[in-house]
Amino acid sequence: MEFEFNDEEAAYRREVREFVRDNLPAEWSGHMGFLQSDESFEFTRRFCQALAEKGWLTMAWPKEYGGAEAGYWKQTIFREEMWAQGEPRGPQYMSLNYIGPSIMEYGTPEQKAAFLPRIAGGTIVFCQGFSEPDAGTDLASLKTAALRQGDEYVINGEKIWTSYAHKADYCYLLARSDPEAPKHKGISLFLVPMDTPGITVRPIRSMSGWGDINNVFFDDVHVPVGARLGPEHGGWYVATGSLNNERIGVARWARAKALIDTLVELVDKPLPNGRRLADEPRVRQKLADLEISFRAARLMNYRVVSQIEEGLQPSWEASLARLHSVLLDQKVAAVGLEILGHYGLMRHEAGQDGDAAGISGLDGAFEGAWRGAIPATIAAGTIEIQKNLIANRGLGLPRS
């Protein structure tokens, strides 16, 4: 057994942390809301290109696709440092974590040549066209049609909750290619240019403002057969493999730890009345409880990493790790706002003077974390689905 990083890994973490610190702009909020401004979004593109130049962007990939074949632990350290800083790679974590790998596995030589160098260079952004108004948790009920007509597919339908769609170059799209087949077996996966005629993106105003989620409409969108990724009608299996990667590829626990550390610093500062929140037992206990939950979540996720490194395929363990991570996300935000009260509700706004609010350096961190944590238990598989998977696969209980 081993429960510690070695000196080499610790040094690599320091190097990444310093790089991020030196390259983050002062206005980077570090948490939610980077899609709200074009400047922030463009920064994420530039940041990814800088990472590509360092050889870090696709460190996990095989060398033949521009990667460095770095071990999974090194990737984990890298992801932790990215998420601790509010994921300055923006939406590109999706391309790196699962879209790129699925192209490696299922892509044609032409698709590999077209996409992988651009992903590795940090110059292409994808959105994920999975959910529909009537197909969220029950994703296989999706109705968006992609019907084959000769050498083309014609796509009609509607996707919703599509993050980054208004900025994306391509959509990683699930659509029904055989309406007559059983629902899991009639689905194909496509790589669709977002500037294809017939695609309309309608941003949805959410609790995070504009731009985090979108409606995407497909109205007689013609794509060539070469846009299909993987076997015809076999897209469900390509996509579910992707979702497994999504569950473990997001180092939410590292962002939670950054927020816990922020809270620890904040409660130590004297308030205008001279009191310190750190002197209140209930505050101390709540922070300790967060730290313990963080440690548990980190161990759960590290166990999954360890399994992958051993060449195993995590199953319920990945769902359990995700459950720990997303619940930690919500707990940290809730406790932060409870402890900080109105100070915690101060938003990240350009020009808002944190000192005037009485607590400097807060910069909307907990307000943003709270907003961001609400969908944490919904996106990429609700926690109810995760619990079903844990009960069925981990404990052998019958399906309902």
Binding site: V264, D268, R303, L397
Partner: protein
């Protein structure tokens, strides 16, 4: 690998053998008998376990010990917890570990060997009227008197006191602390009747002890090291008990038919089961990490406290879910779940109040 959750070959072998031995030698009926007749009946099993080396797993080889670590103790304790075993495996092994490690003030080798082989039982006498593990609350006094030591102590809730031949008592000693070995005939043992079926008693001592009964003296770390070993062992015990309760509930939910369907096919039940696994797995990993940190000589106090806080609360949640899934049958004395439920509740008291454990983590965070 930096974080490697795999047990070594030797640890796997130990775990397999411990699982086999405990499952063959310990039944839930031992706990049932203890409920009505105390612990006298466990002595035969205890001696057989001692003969197999399970009474001195952390002791030095020269003391007939296994020279293993606390990771192994938690693995053994998990198996004992899974059968609600009324055996002093955790307390005795933790005490023997401290005794065997006392290099500067060694107890007589033959006594250390007697203890490590389980022929004599030693337990830990630490709590006092304040019922807190904090060494600063110790009022027991050890004082040097003409080349010997006089111990005055009034220890509460001493586990397995009714069958122990020795108590490893914590005491103040000058400006610091001491661990002193007290023969049971030098103490007055007043049994309580409490839920844990673990022979709790008040142990009052006013005795003169020979020099070789002073196991260790120094700052609070000698007490904390002893209690750390006890606590990670008890975390293992509670985790084993709660995992067994989960397994029972899951098996019941698969077999029990309700409204024409398996009980476990209802999502409300399945989600309770998932919540149980969430707590059991989290508690086990935190416990192993704390044990590993102690074994590898790293600072571990806040990790032990974190495991205690998590396991103490989590194991009780698991039992609550298990009871709800079982319905009325789990409440019967005949059902093994009721035995697990009581040992989890009693162990939670030993793991300490959640706020006290959290405070240790808060201090480690720097607040």
């Amino acid at each position: 690998m930096p974080y490697d959750f795999r047990l070594s070959e030797e640890q796997l072998l130990f775990q397999r053998e411990a699982t086999r031995v405990i499952s063959e030698m310990v039944s839930f009926d031992m706990a049932r008998t203890a409920e009505d007749h105390g612990l006298a009946h466990v002595m035969d099993r205890w001696r057989r376990l001692g003969d197999l080396g399970y009474a001195g797993i952390c002791a030095a080889e020269q003391h007939c010990g296994g020279e293993l670590g606390l990771v192994e103790l938690t693995l053994l304790a998990e198996q004992a917890g899974a059968r609600a075993a009324p055996l002093p495996l955790v307390w005795h092994n933790a005490a023997v570990r401290s005794i065997s490690r006392a290099a500067d003030r060694p107890v007589r080798p033959e006594l250390a060997a007697e203890l490590a082989s389980g022929r004599q039982i030693v337990t830990v006498a630490h709590l006092e009227a304040g019922d807190t593990a904090d060494p600063r609350s110790i009022e027991a006094e050890l004082a040097e008197q003409g080349g010997q030591f006089r111990l005055i102590a009034r220890k509460t809730f001493v586990p397995f006191a009714t069958i122990a031949q020795y108590f490893l008592a914590t005491a103040r000693f000058g400006d610091g602390y001491a661990l002193a070995l007290v023969p049971s005939e030098s103490a007055t043992v007043s049994p309580y009747r409490s839920t844990g079926r673990d022979g709790r008693a008040m142990v009052a001592v006013d005795a003169t002890l020979s020099q070789d009964m002073l196991v260790a003296s120094g700052d609070a770390s000698i007490v904390e090291d002893l209690l750390g070993a006890v606590q990670v062992g008890l975390c293992g015990y509670a985790t084993g008990a709660s995992r067994a309760a989960m397994d029972m509930a899951v098996a019941y939910a698969k077999d029990r038919i309700i409204f024409g369907r398996a009980l476990g096919s209802f999502q409300a039940v399945a989600h309770r089961a998932a919540d149980m696994l969430y707590d059991v797995e989290g508690g086990q990993l935190l416990t192993l990490e704390a044990a590993w940190r102690i074994d590898s000589g790293r600072p571990a106090g806040d990790y032990v406290a974190g495991a205690c806080a998590y396991v103490g609360a989590g194991s009780q949640r698991v039992l609550a879910h298990a009871h709800q899934i079982h319905g009325a049958i789990g409440f019967t004395f005949e059902h093994n779940l009721s035995l697990l439920s009581t040992v989890v509740k009693a162990t939670a008291a030993d793991l300490g109040r959640e706020d006290v454990n959290q405070e240790k983590v808060a201090v480690a965070l720097g607040i």
